[in-house]
């Protein structure tokens, strides 16, 4: 028995290690990819893992989650996905009836999780039944639990891949005819889909900033795609933002991760654009899938911002400058919550003050489990 479990744990280790090295080596980049890969990874982990009690199961997932969050500490999506999975597991373990309903509840109406958790708190029957479940029907319970959780993860994965479609559905209400939009995040696929969908119903102009030096190639591709869809597109250099802002109706940004206070991390240059928009009283929309929302709080802004290749800012062709100047190339920017008017997600449209409510809905199951909140904070 021990050897079997030993083999199993080795398999698990191999799985975990490969995924972690992928993350560390940045073979997977981009929130969307990482989220889907994490889902796949967790499914595999759950199928190969061996545990005797559900509590052990939860501990195992937590440990794995901790490790993968540390592999890429600035990529909060991994942590978010693990948290959602843990929520699924807890739901199942606490036996709130049909687990499928539970998974739906995570994605569906916000009031339901609150009821069920309150209900759980008050009712003793369910908890005892869950413990009975774990002790008596060990292996069968394990398999049941496993399949249910994997089902839940699959649904989570579906939700993540359908983020764009759901966000697109909200476009029409937000853009009027002949509007001028500005987008400083040309690398965002969500923004691209948003605009392409909106162009079917409305005619507008899009100004795209170049985001030199990190995203300039993406900017050119983005602009080309928009132009191919017959949207009036204008590429502007990053410095021209203030000059044109008085003519811009709305600013549309793609967020990389969103935090508990409503602030977000996005490409370099976006913070200045949002500040500029604030000065001109131009509304700023941020689009982000729900999987990007993280309950962590950005205490240390410096650690959020990754620094990239300085050679892009000052290439070696400027040889007489290279050794003598200090050059940094921050890849990200932190945008304070006051600069963003609205977050558009695949579920709802949120104002930053109410982000806390959002997190409550996702995390109610884990809220009264005090330990969970600590482990996955960076």
């Amino acid at each position: 028995m021990s050897s079997a479990s030993h083999v199993a744990s080795q398999k698990l280790d191999i799985l975990v290690d490969t995924f972690i090295s992928k993350l560390k080596r940045r073979q997977i980049t981009g929130s969307y990819k990482i989220a889907t890969e994490t889902c796949q990874f967790l499914m595999r982990v759950i199928s190969t893992s061996r545990w005797s009690t559900p509590q052990e199961f939860i501990q195992l997932i937590r440990k794995v989650g901790q490790r993968i969050q540390e592999a890429q500490p600035r990529e909060f999506v991994t942590g978010n996905v693990v948290r959602r999975v843990l929520a699924i597991i807890r739901d199942e373990v606490n036996g709130t009836g049909d687990s499928l309903n539970n998974a739906n509840v995570n994605n569906g109406a916000p009031s339901a999780p609150v009821d069920t958790s309150m209900f759980q708190l008050l009712s003793t029957v369910n908890t005892s039944s869950s413990t009975n479940l774990s002790i008596k029907e060990n292996t069968r319970g394990q398999n049941d639990l496993r399949s249910v959780v994997i089902q839940g993860i699959r649904e989570l994965s579906d939700e993540i891949s359908s983020v764009n479609e759901n966000i697109e559905a909200m476009t029409v209400d937000l853009i009027h005819e002949n509007e001028v939009l500005l987008t400083p995040t040309p690398g965002s696929g969500t923004v691209l889909n948003f605009l392409l969908k909106a162009s079917l119903k409305r005619k507008f102009t899009v100004l795209v900033t170049e985001s030199y030096p990190n995203d300039i190639e993406e900017c050119h591709l983005f602009a080309k795609k928009l132009a191919e869809a017959n949207i009036e597109t204008v590429i502007i250099p990053d410095s021209t933002v203030f000059a044109v802002m008085s003519r811009v109706g709305k600013v549309l940004i793609g967020a990389r991760s969103v935090f508990a206070n409503g602030g977000c991390v996005s490409n370099a240059g976006v913070a200045a654009v949002c500040e500029c928009a604030k000065e001109h009283r131009t509304p700023v929309f941020a689009v982000a899938g729900l999987y990007k929302f993280s309950p962590t709080y950005p205490f240390d802004k410096d650690s959020l911002i990754e620094v990239g290749n300085s050679g892009k800012v000052m290439p070696f062709e400027d040889s007489d400058l290279v050794g003598k100047c200090e050059v940094t190339n921050p890849v990200f920017d932190y945008v304070i919550p006051e600069h963003i008017d609205i977050y558009i997600t695949n579920m709802y449209v949120y104002f930053f003050i109410f982000i806390n409510l959002l997190f409550q809905f996702i995390l109610t199951e884990v809220k009264h489990h005090t330990n969970t909140q600590n482990i996955l904070f960076s």
């Binding site: 170049e210 080309k224 132009a227 009036e232 000059a243 003519r247 500029c276 800012v313 400027d318 940094t328």
Partner: protein, 510 residues
Amino acid sequence: MTDKKDPKATSQASVVPAATASTSAAANASKTGPPPQKTLTNKELKELKKKEKAAKRAAAKAAHGGANPDQQHDQHGKSNNNNNKSQKPKTASQLKKQMNSAKIKDTDVKIPAMFSHLETREQRIAASPTVASIVHPSILALTLKISTYKVVGSSTRCQSMLEAFKDVITSYKTPEGTSLQRHLTSHLSHQIEYLKTGRPLSVSMGNAIRWLKQKISQIPIEMSDEDAKVQLKEDIDLFIQEKILYSGKVITQFASGHIQNNSKILTYGHSEVLKKLFKYCAIEENKSFDIYIVDSKPLFEGKKLAKELSSVKNIKCHYNLITSLSSVLERSSIDFCFLGANSMLSNGRLYSRVGTALVAMSSKNKSIPVLVCCESIKFSDKVQLDSVTLNELGDADDMINTKPFNKTGFNLQQYLNNLEAKKVEEQNGAGKKGQQQQQQSKKEKDDKLLQSSQKNEETLSNWKDYPSLNILNVLYDLTPPEYIQKIITEVGALPPSSVPVILREYKSIT
């Protein structure tokens, strides 16, 4: 001479330079000599004019239908009249027509709708001998440098322009029947017209020209031409010294008090005055401080400043692009933000390199004082409320590259294209194939000259084919006065609301 009458050339732009390249090749060695000498010998002038007439006829057939008969008439008129007569006021308009005939309309220009009212460099003047006989070579050289951003910056352009005018005045000879006071002004106007085709004049250049014209008209009648020229040149020197060089020094004196030891200064782009200020503080006053230089595409002027300052011992340079502005401001506690100006407008707004407004706004929001150093020659009585109504458009094609590059001027580009075309034609013989190859080779030349990787060139090199795609490249923007704490000029330090006061004073000084 056969390629002069090349009817198969499709693009207008390539025809005239083709003709002119061959004429210049065929022309006598006096091409190397200064053109004003040529006008002394009528015979050579007549011969040249005849050749040009033939060239023009071929070119004008394809290019300018309407203006053609006028041109020929002008050419004829010029060759028939003797030198003196041709310089009468009548020929001022003839000269103008000549210059206009050499302009090439670049129909390929695409501008975003919002900015389509702004002037573009649609009309380039080809390097033809017709122009060369009117325009002084120093001005030709200067225009080339200005249009390729080799000479860039308000004070620098103004100074270089005045130096070029000194050369023009030196080689100037008053035609008979008119006086220097009256004629030199119109002669200078032709030079200025040509200069404008490189880039629109800045406010400082405009003010300097107005001053110069006033000075010319104030020359006493009895003074001989030689004396007048000497006096004018001295006046120009004095003007440069006073308004540009010494002003810079005085501003430095005023502003150096703000820079203390171990202070951190933020600056944007490249400004002559600021460079002097920083060097003075580091070298003369021996202060050591940090400078954060913010830079942007496409001109990358900050690199120039960084090159100069990084070799100064007491200065520690940091270089960043404008996208990382908020990170820089967040991380390092900047003490002051110094900005340079192209001009100060009458309603207290700062007209400066695009991106300045963003830097000023971000600094203000972090409670960093913003100081502008600006000589009084840059003050203008214009009033403007935003950056869209009046601005300068650069070439949209400068923006296609994803890496910094060296801009080749329009004339150089044409010349190289023609070399390629000639090579290709010699190989294939004239034919439709030659056209396509010319286009292809032109594109290849573009690739090589722009020195960008193949993949990047692919992405936007055909941006003009997409009707909905536009590229915006404006050069200036307007910073509202609420972001500026103090403007430092050589007449003192003042808040932005007091700009009209300086204008009044400035007018009284001159």
